[in-house]
């Protein structure tokens, strides 16, 4: 059996860990440093089968495994270029007690919990189950044999991860050939010949060695390999020639998981709960291998007033590397105790305790789901380019936005508007409730009529817009923007619950389809489809259109005669196809958002969130005519408007024209001479006006709104909106 290290096949024996296999072939990890074989230190990292930062002491060798050591600058290199991680499966598990570690104390804890009738989940690193973090819940996240486990714990997490050995800190501790006592024992059991061994501190078992006592002063060697160790016996420095140095400097608990769950029901047992041995204060050498922090850096930061463990960690980054302090923490505590005469507790531990791949970290996570309207496949069949818009997939264009535009202006067109928010409010308090919600005089809306409305927040800023359509004295239909319906529903429900309002609210946005029919031949098309008499502007009612029961709304966003046909979702395709069939000789075409955004801009209609900011009041967007301050009922935002309306305006959303077919960009700045005076929010070349038209925020200059401005180096003029059909004769036709 062979695996490949740096392009060369090497043999290994059954049961070998990858590190063991490499050492068996006299290949050391290129990072150097003391090896622990316990998964604690960062000294055996390599890239394995394309995954960086793999602890080779924790991975079993397998045939054909590709290993790249190139661990020369403290860390293995990350992959170059774009890497698309393989998808990693996730699993959610639930238990009363989770036990991390299955040594003696871990097994005992699990047995005790099971005997008490608890549902127990155990994690055993020897079975490939490695806990990497504990989060609120508590939630234990573990990497387990190619999956990510999310363990939801009801009662307690028990950390039984044992203890780690203390690494030596002295000049030359980055040389290869230094081992902890436990590592030396493991390697000896695996049949690895360590050559002539000098042991310092607690001696290893099973390893032929010469034991010396005293403090390690430095390691010496050539070509990155240790050749001798200098030990002070209390009087003088003694040099011992060797092939390997084995150190037994004591233990400290592997308790990072317990520390990161310090305010959660997490406790440590066994060696993970022991007190840490504290090594002698380091005098010289590398303390934190991961971040390359030596004693001189600690001296520097101490001298600059960093005397607390958390500050030293932040000031030096010691303990923030891949081993998360497993190597440096006892030495940092010793250093600070020596300088400050006080033993400080370990620094805070935070997830993750282990490096993870992008695939692992994203396991089980999803981007926001995009909804598809009932006509999605019809759009695709018609060649639509679909775009994400307000959490929906919507047709941007069917290939020729100008043809779609002209179909609306000169013939007839349909658009899928099923994504628009559709909410019904019913109940004896529907009217007072809506009076509270909207700044409009709702009481003056007659049954069968609709009114354009703004939705304000408590600060009087515009949140959304839409229609209020009265069905009866106790029932209203609200139309909202596609992106705003979910938030608006919550807004309505919150206010309904907060007041004495006996109302029922249903969000039927996803339950109903809606098709907008628009253009000068709309009435003719709908007549053919069964609407005997054209409806008057801003009226609504029920009708059967092409055999489909619809609620029909007469309105206009395009500036042309327009109807919205709301209908059961199951009938959307039938209705869509029927309208296209019936309108063939009328020049019917579906239109997408690209055409619509231009059509609406010619009419000066705003899009909430695009043309408005978070501080847009009705007055700033020139919609104060929609606010009835004295309608006889308080409404949300009224108190704020009373105050802000008394303040002199500083800016307004206004229209601009430019005699060019060139379109400025949204966000382009507006200038008067050298002075910045605003920016563009919407722009289009208007085919019917043969000029560019825009909306933008304009700041007052000396109490006046400038008229002649410069946009993108070209002269532009502030004008009143709408740009097209100022009398709205076409929409009302």
């Amino acid at each position: 059996m062979r695996l490949i290290v740096d392009g060369t096949p090497i043999p290994y024996q059954p049961g070998d860990k990858l590190l063991t296999a490499m050492l068996r072939n006299n290949i050391h990890p290129t990072g150097g440093g003391c090896l622990c074989t316990g998964g604690d230190c960062p000294h055996c990292l390599a890239t394995v089968d394309g995954v960086s930062y793999v602890r080779t002491c924790q991975v079993h060798a397998s045939p054909g495994m590709i290993v790249a050591r190139d661990h020369t600058a403290g860390y293995p290199p990350l992959p170059e270029g774009n890497v698309y991680p393989e998808e990693v499966a996730s699993r959610n598990l639930h238990c009363d007690v989770a036990v991390i570690g299955q040594g003696e104390s871990g097994q005992a804890a699990a047995t005790t919990a099971m005997a008490a009738g608890k549902k127990v989940i155990t994690l055993d690193v020897d079975q490939g189950q490695e806990a990497i973090g504990i989060y609120n819940g508590p939630l234990v996240v573990a990497r387990a044999n190619g999956e990510m486990w999310y363990i939801h714990v009801k009662e307690e997490v028990i950390v039984a991860t044992g203890a780690a050995e203390i690494h030596p800190v002295a000049p030359g501790n980055g040389l290869a050939g230094i081992y902890t006592a436990r590592a030396a024992e493991n390697l000896a059991r695996a049949g690895i010949d360590l050559g002539k061994v000098i042991s310092v501190g607690t001696a290893p078992n099973y390893v032929w060695h010469e034991h010396v006592s005293g403090r390690i002063m430095r390691f010496e060697g050539t070509d990155g390999k240790v050749s001798s160790v200098v030990v002070n016996d209390g009087a003088t420095d003694q040099t011992y020639a060797c092939d390997s140095v084995v150190v037994g400097l004591g233990f400290h608990p592997r308790d990072a998981l317990r520390r990161m769950g310090h305010d959660l029901p997490v406790r440590a047992v066994g060696d993970a709960a022991r007190e840490s041995d504290i090594p002698p204060c380091p005098l010289a050498g590398t303390v934190c291998t991961c971040s390359g922090i030596g004693v001189e850096e600690l001296d520097y930061i101490w001298d600059h007033g960093f005397h607390e463990m958390e500050l030293v960690k932040r000031g030096t980054l010691a303990g923030t590397g891949t081993c998360q302090g497993s190597v440096c923490l006892p030495h940092l505590r010793s250093y600070l105790q020596d300088r400050g005469q006080e033993l400080q507790p370990p620094f805070t531990a935070r997830p993750l305790t282990r490096q993870v791949t992008l695939g692992e970290i994203s396991a089980g996570a999803h981007h926001h789901a995009m909804a598809e309207s009932a006509l999605h496949d019809e759009h695709l069949k018609a060649g639509a380019q679909m775009e994400r818009f307000g959490h929906w997939w919507r047709p941007w264009t069917y290939g020729d936005w100008q043809a779609e535009y002209w179909a609306v202006r000169e013939a007839v067109s349909i658009m899928d508007v099923g994504t628009l928010g559709k909410i019904v409010v019913s109940g004896p308090d529907a009217l007072p409730f809506l009076e509270k919600i909207y700044p409009t005089d709702i009481a003056s809306i007659r049954t069968g009529r609709s009114r354009y409305v703004l939705l304000l927040d408590e600060r009087g800023f515009v949140m959304d817009d839409g229609l209020v359509c009265k069905e009866s004295d106790t029932r209203y239909i609200l139309s909202l923007t596609s992106g705003g319906s979910s938030h608006s529903e919550m807004w309505l429900r919150d206010w309904a619950a907060s007041g004495p309002y006996d109302v029922r609210i249903i969000n039927q946005t996803m339950s109903l389809g809606a098709i907008n029919v628009t253009g000068p031949y709309t009435n003719e098309l709908l007549k053919r489809a069964g609407l005997e008499k054209p409806m008057r502007f801003m009226r609504h009612g029920k009708a059967t259109i092409a055999g489909v029961d619809c609620h029909v709304f007469r309105l206009s966003f395009t500036g042309e005669t327009s109807y919205e046909l709301h209908h059961p979702l199951k009938d959307s395709v039938k209705l869509w196809r029927a309208l296209l069939d019936l309108g063939q000789d009328l020049g019917i075409k579906p239109h997408g958002l690209e055409a619509l955004t231009r059509l609406r801009l010619e009419k000066g209609h705003i899009i909430i969130g695009q043309d408005t900011d978070l501080d847009s009041t009705p007055r700033r967007i020139h919609h104060d005519w929609m606010v009835k301050m004295n309608k006889g009922a308080d409404f949300i935002g009224r108190q704020a408007l009373l105050r802000t309306n008394a303040i002199e305006l500083d800016k307004m959303l206004v229209g601009f024209e430019m005699d060019t077919r060139e379109e400025p960009n949204e966000g382009d700045t507006i200038w008067v001479g050298e002075e910045y005076v605003g920016y563009i929010t919407s722009r289009t070349y208007s085919p019917i006006l043969d000029k560019s038209v825009m909306l933008g925020w304009l700041f007052y200059q000396d109490g006046e709104l400038p008229t002649d401005v410069t946009i993108k180096g070209r002269p532009a003029k502030r004008v009143d909106v709408p740009f097209y059909d100022k009398e709205a004769a076409r929409a009302r036709a």
Binding site: A89, S90, R91, N92, L93, H94, Y150, H152, G364, H366, H367, H368, A369, M370, A371, E372, S373, A374, H376, W392, V424, S426, G427, P428, T474, R475, D502, V503, R504, I505, I506, Q508, M510, S511, L512, P568, L569, K570
Partner: protein, 126 residues
């Protein structure tokens, strides 16, 4: 792959008392989305609700499928942070693979229901 079908449902917003008292057909699965809202499968065209302001919507915008308890447990384990209820029958709702989902746990089978606009994405993710 899990293949869902369009469902004919009735969605009702009414007072909790009216929803409790409504006479649903014997084969109806009633999922109480909220105290004042019920989703009833199959559709209940003749249902009367003792609330004059109730909103009753014959709603074809839901998709669903009956699955075995084992399959439901697998879906929950793979794609959901919450645990299946222990006592049956029961209902539950929340995000499954990031998509709003409702479960009706019968004694020997489980109904999975989602809004139809998410059907394709749900099938893909599951």
């Amino acid at each position: 792959m899990l293949a869902l079908n369009r469902l004919d449902t009735t969605r009702i917003i009414a007072t909790p008392a009216a929803l409790d008292a409504a006479a649903y057909t014997k084969d109806a699965v009633v999922i109480r989305i909220a105290p004042d809202e019920a989703l009833v499968i199959p559709a209940q065209p003749d249902l009367t609700v003792a609330d004059e302001h109730a909103i009753v919507l014959q709603d074809s915008a839901w998709s669903g499928v009956w699955v075995s308890p084992e399959k439901a447990a697998d879906i929950l384990e793979r794609h959901c942070e919450w645990e299946a209820p222990a006592a049956l029958p029961a209902q539950a709702q929340g995000a499954v693979a990031g998509i709003p989902t409702k479960f009706y746990f019968d004694t020997d089978r489980v109904l999975v229901v989602i809004p139809s606009p998410y059907q394709r994405e749900f099938e893909h993710r599951i």
